[in-house]
Symmetry: C2
């Protein structure tokens, strides 16, 4: 199958809202009057953003999900995306699965594929996504102010747990591993929450490189600092909480298996594990009810995990109010 | 140097026209009232779209040029682009050169970098470009009508000649090789011509996969056929014409060197060599003066090379009016 057949078979569907979709030199987009276009772009490389063991369907989902997550962080409504795909070879079952996962998520968010590129090369998936947001209403990283609350959506850390199991350093019961793995391979972008937070949140970012790293981007852009409650953050692990070691050290009788996650390890996963695709955001204390109502409208849990300080830097406190001296960085592809 | 330093050092410049540029989860674009946004996306992979011998500066130029060429084919005015870059390692001199070539071309077209992504991985460059075009005025592939003229801009085939020299199957004198190589490595997107042809051309495409292939896309989209004059097309080679074999077979006395390009080979390069980044377009015969005037305004040569037929299929005639039985396909990355 050639390049043009491949595009026709797997990636061409009639344009529904865009004036022109796949098949010309350019696609055409027409944002509604008064709307700005939000644009984001993520490139996924095998071994760095996904493992070779991932199913093509989940990979198609994830490639779009990480981009929709950026739109969510800006409060934008998804409109369209382009897909550039480098493939080592044409494998029809792989392409069919990839397209199935991709379009299932795209359809749920009414986001249409309008163009792209395919070529032979080491597996690489690059999606650019377009959303619309009323002019001036986008959530930015730069709006956090001292005394704002810090909030996060959903759960944290489970994707990193799954990665550590794949890396062989950790063991989880099969059902917990499958849940953690689904979290890593099929994140749900918080698109509805992002839009619901417009006019309420003072700043927002998506948690892709780890909570502390992405919150750090907000702090830098806003010229402020923050204090986080480590226990509240760690309690946001879904699988991680269930897999906590019994206090007496009993549990898994098979000493040859790698150990389950320790408390410190779970804390590190929740605080800076990465690949969560939740939203971290700030809002003034008087907006607490509005934030909770926005979460309800978006059917997404939201949890208050700290506060913004005038003093720069990020402080993480344990249950006794002691400062954790751990340094929590941001995931860096070149560090 | 980490990912964030790399972006800050080489790829962050203040947004000039866009409401929000590099550094948040999304960039924001605000097309002017009545404008549609033209979007195109091209992915470049080493060994397929460029050779490892290319200078980073020329590669930066080419990565953007091939995208601007798609905007040109739609008659759109460049606005902004995103850049996703997978790099095997951080090499500062490479990055500095790449950024220099990229921004030199971007600045000439007033096209600003608004976002993107960097990651470690096999070298891969994916650019998505945005332009604006008055609603309804974009040049499409689907507008060609029987009896329209077929036109092409600039010169054809020289990029392919250079590629064949790199592949070792062809020899060119050093000065000719350098000219052909510059054509391959630093194409000039026909941005001004594309805009000048709005309201004049009935259909257009950019010549990236070879003239006959890209004209073929116009024919298919428009439901028509065409007849081309092979000699007029072959005469559009710049280097190729200069390097033509003497009719008596004399010339290079060194029989150990690979031969210069034969007439058939030059014809094949001009008709379907690829990597030309010219515009092939159609216009009614009564618009001939307007087309020539558009070329003059854009300082770009335009040449009439054939006509559109009601009968489907592409016919290529030699100087005696005989049909060439050669099949000229389109470059296909998976064929």
């Amino acid at each position: 199958m050639g390049e043009f057949d491949l595009i026709a078979r797997y990636f061409t569907r009639p344009a529904r809202r865009s004036p022109l979709g796949v098949g010309d030199d350019c696609a055409l987009l027409a944002p509604a009057a008064g709307m700005q276009l939000a644009v984001s772009c993520d490139m996924l490389v095998e071994g760095r953003h996904f493992l070779s063991t991932v199913s093509p369907e989940r990979l198609g989902h994830k490639a779009l999900a990480v981009n929709l997550s950026d739109l969510a962080a800006c409060g934008a409504k998804p409109l369209a995306f382009t897909l550039a795909l480098a493939l080592p070879a044409v494998q029809e079952d792989w392409l069919a699965g990839f397209a199935r996962g991709l379009f299932a998520l795209a359809d749920r968010h009414d986001c249409e594929l309008v163009g792209g590129d395919t070529t032979r090369g080491p597996l690489n998936i690059c999606i650019t996504v377009f959303g619309e947001v009323p002019a001036g209403a986008a959530l930015l990283r730069s709006g956090a102010r001292a005394s704002d609350d810090v909030w996060v959506s959903g759960s944290l850390g489970d994707a990193r747990l799954a990665l550590e199991v794949f890396r062989g350093g950790l063991s989880l019961p099969a059902d917990q591993f499958e849940r953690a793995r689904a979290r890593m391979e099929q994140p749900e972008p918080r698109v509805a929450l992002g839009q619901a937070l417009r006019g309420i949140a003072s700043a927002a970012a998506d948690v892709s490189d780890g909570l502390t790293g992405d919150l750090g981007h907000i702090l830098t852009a806003s010229g402020v600092g923050a204090t986080l409650d480590a226990d509240r953050v760690t309690a946001l692990m879904g699988v991680g909480a269930a897999s906590a070691e019994p206090a007496d050290g009993s549990g898994d009788p098979d000493a040859s298996r790698p150990p389950g996650p320790s408390r410190d390890f779970r804390r590190a996963c929740a605080l800076s594990g990465g690949d969560d695709y939740e939203l971290v955001f700030t809002a003034p204390p008087e907006a607490r009810d509005a934030v909770i109502e926005a979460g309800r409208r978006a059917s997404t849990e939201v949890t208050r995990i700290g506060r913004i300080d005038a003093e720069s830097g990020l402080r993480v406190l344990d249950a006794e109010g002691s400062l954790l001296d751990q340094r929590f960085g941001s995931f860096d592809h070149f560090a």
